[in-house]
Every structure is written in C-alpha cells, then in structure tokens.
Amino acid sequence: MAAEGQDLRAGLQRLAEVARPLQGKQLRAAAENLAGYIETVAQDETGRVWIMGWIRGGLPTELPVVLAGRARHAGALGLFRFPRADVPEGGQAFIGLLASDWQPSPGVDLYCFLAPELTLFLRGVRPLAQVETKVIVDHIAHNLPQASAGQAKALQALLGSGSSWAPHSPRAGFAMKASVDRLLVLPGFGAFAEGWVLSPSKPVTGFSVRLGGKVLQGVPGSLVRRARPDVATVGGHTPLLLDRAGFTVVLEGPLASTDLVEPMLKAHFADGSAANVAVDPEAVRRIGHAVPLDDVLLCYPGLAEESFFPRFAAALRQDMVASLAQVALIAGPAPALRLVVAAVPAHPSDARLLVEDLALALRRLETPPAVLLLADGGTSRAELPVLARTLAEASGQRCGIALVEQADKPLWALPAVLDLAGSQHFLLLAQHAFPCRAGWDAALAALLGADEAPRALRHAGPGGLAALRWTRTGLQHWLDTHPPALGQAHADALLAEAAPLPGSALSALATQGGGRVLAAIDQLETAAA
C-alpha cells in the first residue's frame, strides 16, 4: 500500500482512540442535526467497512465518530467529497472508510454521530444497500478527478492494497522469493506466520495474508526478523538479506473457520507496492486443533505481553467454549432425577479401572443412581458400550453415553448433558480422578441426600477438584457469573463454593501445567474480573 494510505490508516486509528471515551455519552438524533445519509456499505476482504452517501459541506474529512445501532462502537471516518447532482444543496457525495469494529447488518438502524460534539450525525438509509468492494473501487476511480476535499488517493490506495492477489511474476520486473513455513491460524483472530523472504531490490516492510475470502493484516510492530542462512541456496550471494530473511508476523483479520483455504502471502514493500506468493496449504495449521496452543509461544514467545493478546484470548475462548459446549448423546441414561456423570479417562486401562471402581461403589448402595459416561475423542468409542454395560449391571439401570469435545473440561457441556438426561441433581467425576472408597461413598451419599448445597471431593495433595455434587440450577447460576477456566484449573474455582466431602482421590495423570497460553488467558480473565 502506498505510504499515504498507511498514513491515513494510522491517522484513523488515532481518531478512533479519541472516540473511545465518548461511547458512553448521551446521543440524541435530532432532525435538525442530520448531516447526511449513508446509502451504501461494502466490506472488503480485509474486513474494513467502506461507506458511500452524502454529507453537508464544510465538515472535516477525517473525524472521530460514535456509531449507534444495536450497540455502540467507537471509530473514525475518513472520506473524500465530490459533487453529485441529486444531493441537496450545500451537501456533497462522499466515499469513506469507517474504521471501527462495527459490522454491516442490513436490518439495523445506523446512526453515525460525529465527534467530538456528537450532535451532528449521518443516518443509514433503510434498508442499507450492501455492495461488493468492486463497486466502491469503481466509484472511487470514477469520482477521483472531481474530488473537492479529503484524501481520495490515500483511500484509493488503501482499498487497492488488498485487491490484487495475483501471484508475483518475474515479469513484474523485480525479484522476490518468499515462503511460509508455518501459518498458525485462529478463527476470530487471525494468524501467526513464520517463513522467509528474499527481495534483493525492494525492502520488505510488512506482510498480509489472504485465506479464503478474508485478508489478514500484519499487526503493526509485530514483525520479527531473523537470520535464515539455510535459504542461501535460494537467494544467491545476498548475505545482508540472509541475516534478516526469516520473519514472524502476527496477522489480524475477521477470519472464519470456513476461510482456511487457498492461503496467499502478500509482502509489502517500502515503495508502497506489493507482491504475492502462494502458501503451501500444508503450512496452514489451526491452533488448538493441529498444533498445541503452546506452539504459538514457540513462534511468538511474548504473546501474552502484546496489545493484541486480549483479542487473541477472546477469539480463542470463543472458539474453545463453542466446541466445548457441544454434546452428542449416544445413549440416553435411564430417566433419573439424580445422575452420576463420569468423565471417562482417555487411557483404556484407566477407563477400565474407573468403571470397576464405580461399579463397586454402586453395588454398595441399596438404590444406586443412574450413570452417564462422558467421553471425548481420546476415548475408544467402541469400548464405551462395554463400559456402560458394566455400570448398567451394577446400577440396575441403563447407563448413558455422551460425547463432548474435551471430557477434562466438562462444565460448559454439563447443563446440556443434564437436560438431555432430565436430571436435576448430579455428581460429576472429573476425568482421571479416582476417589478412595471413603470418597466414593461420601460423594454418592451426597448425591442421594436431600442437601442441595454444592459438595466437592479434592484430589490428594495439591490437586484440584475430583468430584462435584450439585444441582443443575445451582451450576447454571454459577456458570452465568463465573466463566470456568480454560486451563487446568478448569473447575477448581468451584472448590471455593463447595463444602468438602470426606476422602480424597488420586489422579491417573501427573500434575501438569494446563498450558501456558491457557494459563495466560485465565490470568487475563481473572484480572478483568
């Protein structure tokens, strides 16, 4: 992108910061303060929002704004004006970039209050026409010669910088070779790209990446360069380039899980031009799916200290919670008001031991409760009916089986599991927890007892929650106000809520860090609370 486009983008970011503290102010859309209309909106592949319409003359062409629709968003508007015959007298048509996190939505009333006074406003017509980016591109090109105010060329450069994704060709007149070794992607946030670039004639200033229909922009200041002597055979005698050929860059953009195809890297040069290189699809790895979360730290060790970390954390939490809350009921348990929900350990030996222990504990009861096995992909699916049969024989009731994304983080799925089973009271046994006999007996007695207060069994030693007896209502209320941890301490906050049960449990797994990234996210959550 041309330097003027970069300047405009930076300027809008600064203006958006000015608008941020104004979001809470009272807004009133008085008819006499109507300053124009937003008639058309477009969202380019980088996620940026472009608007067209008309506006009173004499107003600034870059200004902070507060958008009011379903919610309020602080932002900034940069536009250029040009004459148009149908615009009321004193007004001019405009094309502008709306820099905010507002997303176009056709059915919503949109008011764009102009800061800092927040009295004048632009109103979105209803329905607000949403067009393709190409329409905006054409309009800018058509009206640029008549531009009377505003940074028309800068806006054109900004819009154009993401529009060409044709692979770099030697016919372009300059050499550029690049490769992405790993592209770690996180829907809702963006990606971490690791690779190398050799551009002997044009210094590289930054990167962006296109995935599917979305463009991820390099986060300013996130570019890390390092030596890559291993690519010397590709670059010829370019020792200075090799010293900084390697790169890591953080890229942000509105990436959806459906976008993870046809990856392309765009290298931006100091002269404002850019060149594209296709990325091997095998380099694309979804964080938390193909690579462990902590692999991100190998790529970007200072992640948790960066200004973009809260956005990364929010995206990861949203991604994880959405999948962790999903439940697939394979076999329904016997209808029961009181239910044992046992998270099945991943190791088959542990699963056998759990069922053996639980069956023994159930046989000690005159009226054993129903049981549901909660398993995830780490458990042998084919083994589950065998385990369920053993428990059904011990309890005298049909044993249910439900599959979740991660049985070691069951709290998000638990309410749905209980609903499917029609149960109000539950005893949750944490995955890999093996209570002692006293612990089993106390936990089951608590489940069958009248007291509805939460009771918890602890792991021996420094371990956390091994079993929890509570009610569905109680749990849901707690979940509404206490987001469970993503990391190893997932359910441990419940220990503060629940009275201790006698006995303890051993764990089949050594105490491990639940992951540094998740720990950092949980810490962020705690600090925010």
Binding site: R352, L353, E356, L506, A510
Partner: protein, 425 residues
C-alpha cells in the same frame, strides 16, 4: 475338625492347557490335599479359545476368559470372570480359597470372591506381578536390568508413557485386595523377603516350597561316555535366558566333551532369536534342539543329562525345574540371583554363573565337566517334597490342623464326591 466345606485351589491356568510352574504347583497342591483326604476343588482360568483343549478332572472347574479383554496394567478381568468364579464358590460352598496367581482372574475376581460371606483367602506368590508391570519379572523394561525395588516413581520411570500416578493407583488397588487376604505363601525365602520389603506384613507371609506330584527315585549317574550332557528344560521365553545359553554354546563350539540339549516350547521368542536357535542347532555339533516334551517325561529326559541348566535373566522364584532336576538326581547350573541362587547351593547341589553372562556360563559348564565334581554335587542333592507334604505345609499356613487332616483322611476319602458342574455357564 471337619473339612466339610472344600478348599478351593484357584489357578490362573489349567495344566491340560499350559504347563507353567505356577499351574503345576497349584494342581500339585490340589492333588496333595486330596491325597490327605481333605475335600478340595480346583478352579482354573481358561481362555475361551482353548476351551476345546480343556480336560477337567473330578471336582475341577473352569472359569472362561477372553485373553484380549484382560486389562494388564491394573490386572482387571472382565466382570463375567468374577461372576463365574463366585458362582462356582457359591455352588461348591468352598470357603478357604488358595489363589495361585491373579493373572487372567484379575484382582477384581479376588476382591469379589473374598467379599463372599465366610470366605478366607491365601495368595500364592509365584513372581512379582503385584509389584511389577513388566510381566512381574522385576527386570527393567528398556534396559532389561534386574530391579530391586518397585515404587511408583521407579515404575513410572520404567514406563514413562504410563507415569508415576498410574503406578500409585495400581499400588492402591493391589493393597486394597491384599488387605482382604488372610495370608500369603511364597515358595522361596527370596520372594517372601522382597514382598515384605515391599510392604506385606512379615507375619502374614509363609514360605512353603513347591512339591512334586511324583518325585520318584533319583536316576543313577549316567555311565561315563566321554561327553557331559547339559539339559535345558522349560518354556523358551526371553526371560528364561535362552539367548545366554546360545551364547555359551557358541563359545563352547570346540569343546568336544560338552553336549547341550534344549527341551521346550518356543514361546514369545523374537524371530531373530528363533532363527539363531535354528542356525546354531544346525551348525554346532554339540547343540541339539529337542523340542517340546510332556511333563511326565521330564524325569526320564533329565536322567539322560548330567546337569540341568537354568540360565534365567530374571530373579525367578522357585522354579519347578530345579525340584524336578533334584528329583531326577541331577545338579543344577543356574544364574546366581534370586530364587535360583536360594535353591541351588553352589558347590553342594549345583553351580552359579553371572547373570546374562554367556562367557561365564561357558566357563562354569567347562569346569562342571569333571566326573569328581559331578559325583560330589549329585551326592549333595536334597529330596524334593511330595504333594502331600506340600499340602500339609499349606494347611499349616491356613491355620488348619494337618494332623487332623491325616487322622480324618480315611473317612474323608470315603466321602462320595460331589458331581459338580464342571463348566459353569
């Protein structure tokens, strides 16, 4: 004293299916009890797949299991195995239970059986399975070195993919089941001491040597025929030191005065070792692979040897083959560790060599090829216990009167035997 409720001798295998030392010892105890006139039943765990080979005698029962469904880390059988065992105990009324091994039966079967009203239990320790996940051998899984102490930490290091906490769970489970038992029998002092060091109360551990069903009379020394014959008898599995023996055979290639005979089944040997055995048996004139044998032939086959070799690389407990060698009048050359070292007194009943040291074994065999030494060792051999003697010691360990048993023997022996269901559903 009445023995009306029979004693149940419960084994992990039946001798008609396999002939390991533990099931032979268990069946010998059963026969010994019956020889004393003590009502006894024999219950064996039998693989479903071997059902067609099963040959049950009077008052013998089988509980069937699927080997592939056995859980080896925590030693758990399928619940159906425990149910079958309890059904037999219910049907026969057996109250005193003598478990030989818990493999295939599972700790859960022992737990359930011992939880039946009025049951008392004794567990015969045949190896270290309660302590050691590596086939109960106390040999490290990766380096194959002898291990002297099983702790969750050490076991977790031995099996890093399992980790220490699982061995804590295993230890807890074993402890819970062992707490239900009245006592333990070890056929060697060595094993008993190891279990006491591991945590069993010394007062609950009894040392009772295995007996032989038909010890017979020792064979006379072989006539001097110019060659000394060294025989190996038993299962040719890796822990029995076949590799060591073959290494010694290679070193003795030019020793014309020595012949080595290997008797046994090839079980679980790596293909490379089987190939080596075949190749050496063909290329070394003094090495002969004799193949499998029936148990009742062992005395005659040993009588054709001068020495019996026991080159095991694990500790062993009280290998039946040593008792059989003594019964046949043949000294034993064994690895100088564990139960073998206890049973073979060097210079008196046999000779020792260094563990896993083929060169040392070859040297010891060469030194043993001496008529005077052979005669001296043959003169020092003890007489193994017979089945009734073994049974008497077990009765004592159970706190049952041995004298009364013998006094009542004629009467008990006249009691009609229960028909019983041989193969409970």
């Amino acid at each position: 004293m009445s023995f009306a409720p029979p004693i149940a001798v419960i084994s992990h295998a039946h001798p008609s299916i396999s002939k390991g030392g533990a099931e032979i010892a268990a069946h010998t105890l059963y026969q010994g009890l019956r020889a004393l006139g003590v009502p006894a039943i024999f219950i064996a765990a039998v693989p479903e797949a071997e059902r067609h080979r099963l040959d049950l005698g009077a008052d013998e029962y089988a509980v069937f299991h699927a080997q592939e469904r056995y859980e080896h880390l925590y030693q758990l059988a399928e619940p159906a195995v425990a149910r079958q065992l309890c059904a037999v105990l219910d049907a026969t009324g057996a109250e005193q239970l003598v478990f030989h091994h818990f493999l295939w039966l599972g700790l859960n079967s022992l737990r359930d059986a011992l939880a039946l009203p009025g049951r008392r239990g004794l567990l015969v320790l045949h190896e270290f399975l309660a302590q050691c996940h590596h086939h109960g051998q106390m040999i490290t899984a990766t380096t194959q070195l002898p291990c002297s102490s099983a702790t969750p930490s050490r076991c977790g290091n031995c099996f890093p993919t399992l980790g220490r906490p699982r061995f804590e769970l295993r230890r807890r489970l074993v402890g819970e089941v062992f707490d239900q038992l009245d006592g333990f029998v070890s056929p060697s002092r060595f094993l008993a001491e190891r279990y006491v060091a591991w945590g069993l109360p010394a007062e609950r551990v009894h040392v009772v040597e295995n007996g032989l069903l038909h010890p017979g009379q020792p064979a006379p020394p072989r006539p001097a025929a110019g060659r000394f014959v060294f025989g190996f008898f038993g299962q040719l599995n890796p822990f029995k030191g076949v590799d060591v023996l073959l290494g010694a055979a290679e070193r003795l290639a030019s020793a014309a005065e020595i012949e080595i005979r290997i008797h046994g089944n090839i079980i679980g040997l790596p293909e490379a070792l089987v190939a080596r055995l075949d190749r050496l048996a063909e290329s070394l004139p003094q090495l002969r692979f004799m193949g499998a044998y029936e148990n009742d032939q062992v005395g005659a086959l040993m009588a054709e040897c001068d020495y019996v070799l026991v080159p095991s690389i694990w500790w062993e407990n009280s290998p039946v083959v040593i008792q059989e060698a003594y019964a046949a009048g043949r000294p034993v050359i064994c690895t100088g560790i564990g139960g073998m070292a206890e049973k073979v007194v060097p210079g008196v009943t046999g000779l020792h060599f260094r563990r896993n040291d083929a060169g040392d074994l070859a040297q010891v065999m060469q030194s043993a090829a001496d008529p005077a030494l052979l005669a001296k060792l043959q003169a020092g051999l003890p007489r193994p216990a017979d089945a009734p003697t073994m049974a008497r010691h077990y009765l004592a360990a159970m706190g049952l009167p041995t004298a009364a048993a013998e006094a009542e023997a004629p009467q008990a022996a006249r009691k009609p035997r229960r028909a019983g269901t041989k193969q409970p559903a």
